[in-house]
């Protein structure tokens, strides 16, 4: 088991499987809020669902409306369980907080493998890789 320490952006605990990408994600326009599937053309996760995953990505991108899109997904039950970033920015931080999705950044995301089981402790800013 490996423990990684990052910075808490939004508190909360979660446990689940990692979905990892090296590319930024745009939650407004880049993800279908009704089924959680990434729709951005050419994205390495295109066609995959982020619902119920620990979503691991470097940072958000695109419109600030993306924060509301995360909120919408949370309300519809299509949101990820937690968000892990290398560098969090305004869109993801605000989205995580208003939606109450645990979020940690300052993590070396290259250490996380796709499908790996992860425990996220937002309060402590720690993730455990199983």
């Amino acid at each position: 088991m490996i423990k990684l320490k990052g910075r808490m952006i939004c508190k909360g605990k979660a446990e689940g499987k990692a979905l990892v990408t090296k590319q930024g994600i745009s939650f407004f326009g880049g993800v279908n809020p009704f089924n959680g599937i990434i729709t951005e053309s050419g994205h390495e996760l295109e066609g995959q669902s982020i619902t119920g995953k620990i979503l691991v990505f470097p940072h958000g991108k695109g419109s600030t409306v993306g924060s509301y899109a995360l909120y919408r997904m949370k309300k519809q039950g299509t949101a990820p369980l937690a968000l892990i970033n290398s560098e969090c920015e305004t869109i993801v931080a605000v989205g995580a907080i208003i939606s109450e999705i645990p979020c940690i950044d300052k993590i070396d995301i290259s250490q996380i493998k796709n499908g790996q089981k992860i425990i996220v402790d937002g309060e402590k800013g720690i993730i455990e890789l199983k």
Partner: protein
Amino acid sequence: MLKIISKFYLYNYFGEKMQLTKEETEMLEGKKGNAVKKSMEILLALGEIYGAKKLVEVSSVQVAGVSYDNLGDAGLEYLSELAKDGKVKVLTTLNPAGMDLENYKVLGIPEDFAIKQKMVINSFTKMGVIPTCTCTPYLIGNKPNIGENIAWSESSAVTYANSVLGAKTNREGGPSALASALTGKTPLYGMHLDKNRIAKIKIIVNCEIKGTENFGALGKVIGEKVGAKPTYIIGIKKASLEELKSFSASIATYGGAAIFHMKGITPNKTIIPKKEIVIAQEDINKSINELTMNNCEVDFVSIGCPHASIKELEKVAELLKGKKVKKEFWITTARPTKKLADKKGYSKIIEEAGAKFAADTCCVVAPIKGRFKCLATDSAKGCYYAYSKNNSKTKIMPIEKLVEEACK
């Protein structure tokens, strides 16, 4: 003792160094209600990400994220949740909505959209936000002075406020600006610190720039060359409010700049940078040509991006007097500006000619995708969004030509 407690609390909460007052700590703990608590969480997370050491008080807020076209039901739901116990602490005005709140039927806005849009406005109004629905708050009574800390979203107004008014604001998003309205605070970083407002590149403009369309083209040239970096621009002899409004919108749209300095025109002090870029007439021509697309028959004419001033409405009325427009022609403006035009008789002339007022809204946020194939406008920002958001081709031209085009 209280200070120690608040520091300790924050250490636990964020593990780092932002310092909160007793009042701010209580806000974060939820003692001032849920909307305030959520807002503090947003502001502290942003402060943490961008290295702020504390919060500062703001005197004015401009909230974007108003159009139901962009918010959807999720945004509406979030706003209704905040409106349960949230009340603004400072003067707070609102960005354009997705429709004219009175005249939407004439503009062809569907009824189901109108119902949702009114619900969005009601949530804001319940929180004490003034439903001004304009991107030019500085024209209708929300005009901060030099040196004031404010929290504005709407990129064109942010650049105008920082550069032309000399107030201090970051480029806020809708939720973070609203968080500032509900708490009266913003984290102290970025544009609030003088060191970040200093010009990094000197821009030498070697040609005469005149008219809103050419100032827009200049904004596009500079934005594309230097991105978001603060600039010191020389060579502009004079610039009207309308020209600076167009320029601010364009430089923010094409480059993301929050501030520029214009020698002899804007009020902020800056160190003059060594690195220089020269802009000549060819650059302006190239930019105008890029926004004037071929193989496109104009089917939509629009003036008022950012929202038209009373002087612009006067000019349009003069040009339209006794004429009839043959194409869809929208004039987007703030409702108070429209009211002035009513009093001066401009609105009557404009409407008798067949042009339509679209107050409270604009061509960037209204749900008009697919309705028009080719927009003619004097706004470089308007061209950008017509093309990228609404799949429309564009032609940029001065107001005189726009009126001619509309009557052709």
